[in-house]
């Protein structure tokens, strides 16, 4: 076997991938979302509902807490799905832009790498909500494209707003990934007369893809949770709709169970991603 301090680079024999070692088990769905975790969540929801039920005694004419929650579930879940849509869109935009920005960061042309560095630092260190406000205010509500007026809905502007910090973070992930590949790979590629662009595309990036995946997934989970920020700028997503449902129903005791329901949707989505990220990190031997 090659002696390398980069175990990620070693191609694993297929037998190991389907093996039953402790390390591999973490790929199992059971390992990602254990029954214990689910039980904890369910308990929290039930306790909050019992508490709400106790509070609502005396208003017997109204439907029970569980029935009310069930009634609003499609609305809250629909809103949550909108959050997911926003997260996917922002992640896609941010990743595409971040890849380019990351490549600009490692450019040999000094002005290019320098300006990319400034852009990266600016968007990495700016509060997400402030960037979101900027995008909402600075982007027009419609643009003229090929003689056609195309409207830019608020959700699209919000997605762009969230994509900006994602871009900067992806750029850093790309830069870090590229720099983690030993110089000797560049030398080998150089000696075979590959151009720099060919080297990056065919030799360097494919090798750091594995290494970049865990931090990228981590970023995605953070972004998904941050999508609730867009409720502040007036986009109808999960949090907005939950609040609207609470206002429509008008019962204070519903607050805790209702928000807990929304929280659970996010948790059930993000927690497995976090577990999976840890499993991948362990598998690729990447230090967090």
């Amino acid at each position: 076997m090659i002696r390398s301090d980069l175990p990620v680079l070693l191609a694993r024999p297929p037998a190991l991938v389907v093996g039953r070692t402790g390390e591999e088990r973490s790929f199992d769905c059971r390992g990602i979302l254990r029954p214990r975790t689910l039980a904890l969540l369910a308990t929290a929801l039930v306790v909050s509902m019992i508490a709400a039920e106790a509070q609502s005694q005396g208003a017997a004419s109204r439907p029970g807490i569980l029935a009310t929650l069930w009634l609003w579930t499609p609305v809250v879940f629909g809103g949550f799905l909108f959050n997911l849509l926003t997260s996917v869109l922002s992640m896609a935009l941010g990743t595409a832009a971040g890849l380019l920005l990351g490549l600009a960061l490692i450019s040999l042309v000094r002005p290019v790498s320098r300006s990319a560095w400034y852009v990266t630092q600016f968007f990495r260190n700016a509060p997400w909500l402030v960037l979101l406000f900027y995008c909402m205010l600075l982007l027009p509500f419609e643009v003229l494209l090929f003689g056609q007026t195309v409207s830019l809905p608020a959700w699209l502007k919000a997605s762009v707003g969230l994509a900006l910090p994602v871009m900067a973070n992806v750029a850093e992930i790309v830069r870090g990934g590229v720099q983690s590949i030993p110089d000797t790979q560049w030398q080998a590629a150089d000696s075979l007369a590959f151009t720099r662009l060919q080297t990056i595309r065919m030799i360097i990036l494919p090798q750091c893809l594995k290494r970049m995946t865990p931090p990228w997934m981590n970023l995605y989970a953070i972004l998904t949770m941050a999508t609730t920020l867009i409720s502040i700028v007036g986009v109808q997503e999960g949090l907005t709709l939950t609040r609207a449902a609470l206002v429509a129903d008008g019962r204070v005791e519903l607050f805790v169970p209702m928000y807990l329901m929304l929280l659970m949707f996010f948790f059930l989505y993000c927690y497995p991603i976090a577990r999976w990220t840890i499993a991948l990190e362990r598998r690729f031997n990447v230090k967090a």
Partner: protein, 248 residues
Amino acid sequence: MARALGPPLVVATNVEKRFGSLVVLRDVSFTVARGETVCVIGPSGSGKSTLLRCINALVPIDKGSISVEGVEVNDPDLDKLALRKKVGMVFQQYNLFPHRTALQNVMMAPIHVLKQDRAEVEARARKLLAKVRLEGKEGAYPGELSGGQQQRVAIARSLAMNPSLMLFDEVTAALDPETKKEVLVTIRELAAEGMTCILVSHEMSFAREVADHIYFTDHGVIVEHGPPGELLLHPREARTRAFLDQVL
């Protein structure tokens, strides 16, 4: 043996290379004829590896000139890619591309750099792998191969570019004695076929056997050079004698 066959392939004149204030190569001059096998020996840190890297412009030189088949390496307008197509290089740590199979490692450069036909390249790559005795290992990833096998893939990968000159940078230093032999056999065959080779090596017995000419370097200068029988058995310089006493 093969000395003085037509005009020299590599001509280096008064080459100087510094890393900061450290002079790694000082006033180095030599010529390598077409088909000749040259061995560079010397203690660690004597600038041997840097010298090889200067020949294919992986490292720029500060003074003097090196030309390969008439192409001046120190020319600011040098087409590095054109130069590197002529010069193959094999490294101590193999440096195979770990995400590609042995066959793909050999095929990549001819397809993407030389833009040759894929089917043709594949046929040639398979032949080259067979030549370095790796038939059956085409689909193996570098991580699944032994050091010696990886090094032979690396040699095949360089040969696939049809270079006029091969540089070997301590290619057996990371290998155990058995696998070392497989690699040395491959290099010996190449040299016998008339490939021009420059080797940096610690294998004195191999150098004696395969080299047409040996250069001994120390502290960035060529202390002395000559045919193996002469240099290894009757060194003129005290420094060479001291070095040979240690390694032989």
